[in-house]
Symmetry: C2
């Protein structure tokens, strides 16, 4: 995401999908669009591989913003479908970002 | 990683490799083995995709442990090679994990 001055908060979501992925991609996309509209949403880093594993880290300006998104009714329905259908397992960590720095090399391709 | 009771610390490392990856996998593996031997090291979540992007999150019991690993001479040499040769860009965030929870479904494959 765009660099923002700490402190802010991160929700680290690490998951493995089950064999049943029907409807998952669409719901994931819908939830991402909805998350972006929530107050306090700052950005996302996400990556997935071909073994159905993924890590997504969403960034928020406060713990209250995270709690509010967690309480969102559409999000709760999606999370319930996730545990019922799509997720083999997941781990969530809520963390306070204290420092951030970056490196960018323009001249390497 | 194995679930550990918060608080503890996370180093969120998000990177994209350059076109030159010669020697990178070996160095990455060497550094992971060395990190596991450091005092205060708790574990790692890591994932990469086929577009040379990766996120790795290492967990530590204190900011001092993170600083000590950052000051490790072999690690510093590796980081210097990384910026000179391998990384197109990276972002680092240091965060204090405040809450952690997990879901595991035994019956979905």
């Amino acid at each position: 995401m765009t660099e923002i001055e700490p402190p802010y908060y991160a929700v680290i979501f690490s998951r493995k999908l089950s064999g049943n992925t029907e409807g998952y991609a669409e719901m994931s996309s819908t939830m991402q669009t909805l998350a972006e509209k929530q107050p306090g949403y700052l950005g996302l880093d996400a990556i997935r591989n071909e073994e159905q594993q993924g890590i997504s880290i969403s960034y928020w300006d406060s713990l209250e913003a995270i709690q509010s998104w967690r309480n969102n009714v559409q999000h709760q329905q999606a999370m319930n479908q996730g545990t019922a259908l799509w997720y083999q397992n997941y781990q969530v960590k809520i963390a306070r970002v204290e420092r951030a720095y970056a490196f960018d090399s323009g001249d390497k391709e």
